[in-house]
Structure formats: structure tokens, C-alpha cells
């Protein structure tokens, strides 16, 4: 029995529920050449009660470069 952290309404405390009572959805929400965002959600009666994100950064999104610079 796995317990999942859930929030049943926006103003309620975070509690735990047995995973077997929830609908699990896993998907890749977005993937670029810089990152991939994988989501794990649990739903109860059509309500989102748990949402986690695993963002895998593939490489630096920017580089401080001087390769093409020249002294002027």
C-alpha cells in the first residue's frame, strides 16, 4: 500500500491517501532541447489532488560566450 500526499481542496491541509483509491496519470508535458518536464498526477473524482513535476535539464539554456568576439 503506497500512500500519496494529496490536497483535496485548495484551502485544506495536505493529507495522505492510499494510491489504489486514486487515478494516476503520468505524461511528458513539454520537451525542448534544453529540458524535459515529466508530470505525475493523481486524480480523485475528476479533481486534481496531487501534481508533481520532474524537470530534467539537459544542458545550459545559455552560454556566456566570447568565441566570436574581437578587440576593436
Amino acid at each position: 500500500m503506497a500512500l500519496i500526499n494529496v490536497q483535496l481542496s485548495p484551502d485544506s491541509d495536505i493529507t495522505q491517501m492510499d494510491e489504489s483509491l486514486l487515478e494516476k496519470r503520468e505524461y511528458t508535458a513539454e520537451e525542448t532541447d534544453v529540458f524535459r518536464r515529466d508530470m505525475t498526477e493523481y486524480w480523485l473524482d475528476g479533481r486534481l489532488v496531487h501534481s508533481s513535476a520532474d524537470i530534467k535539464i539537459k544542458k545550459a539554456p545559455f552560454v556566456i560566450g566570447a568565441e566570436h568576439g574581437a578587440l576593436k
Binding site: 490536497q7 508535458a29 518536464r37 508533481s52 520532474d54 524537470i55 544542458k59 568565441e67 578587440l71
Partner: protein
Amino acid sequence: MANTQGIGYQWKLECLTSAGGNLNSTSLKAAVYLASATTGPSNASYTSTGEASGTNYTAGGVAVTGGTAALDGSVAHYTPGASITFTNVTFSSAVDAIMIYDDTHASDRNVGVFTFGSTTITAGNLTLTMPTDNGTTGLIRLN
């Protein structure tokens, strides 16, 4: 034989490791920002403006596990030593960025802002897994 222009490799490394911004010895933190915020590289320092709020999230964010700045050929690079995780949080609104900043010096200098797309977190974890730390993929690179 011709001369070759370019920034000195060792100087690039020392940009990452010199006093005032030594990534090898500075404590870093990561703060989360709302998707509606306008945080970016123009922010000189950590700011609470636009920062996420919600259950189990503390303003200022979490500590970042340090890495080691190094040279890979001509490229100086630095990547935190472990994933950055916000555990069992609910953010009040969607988030899409973190700022990594210097928590050692009073300046709270902004090291970098990294975006990842609008994301809703409810009673869950927000985990950012770092790239391989080298001159090709490292999180901070001076090319």
C-alpha cells in the same frame, strides 16, 4: 604561425571562482517564481517580487548542493552537485522558473534564472535534475 584571439581559459575559470562570486565556496539557494512574474537576468539579486508562495514553501527557497567549477578544454563550467527539490509543496499559482542566487554574501547576487514551462504543483514535489557537468551541457558555462 598566427596569433589566436580569445579569452584566457584560466581567467574564465577564475571568473567562476574568484572572491565575490566563488561558486566553489559560496552557499547557493534556489527560489521559485510564478509563471506570471517577470524575474530574469536583469534582477541583480534575489527578489521576493513574483516569488511563489504556498504550503511548505518558505520564501527564499531551498539550499542548493554545491558543485565544483572546472575547465573542460576552453570552457569553464559549473553545475550544482545534486538535484534541487521542493518537497510536498502546493504553490498558490503555476510556477515556471527558479533563480539560483548567492546566499553567502549580503548582496544575494542572482547567479541565473532558469525557466521550465508553466507548472502546477499540488501536494507534490518540484524536482530539477541537473545536467551532466561538463563543457557541453553544464548549467553555467563560459565558452
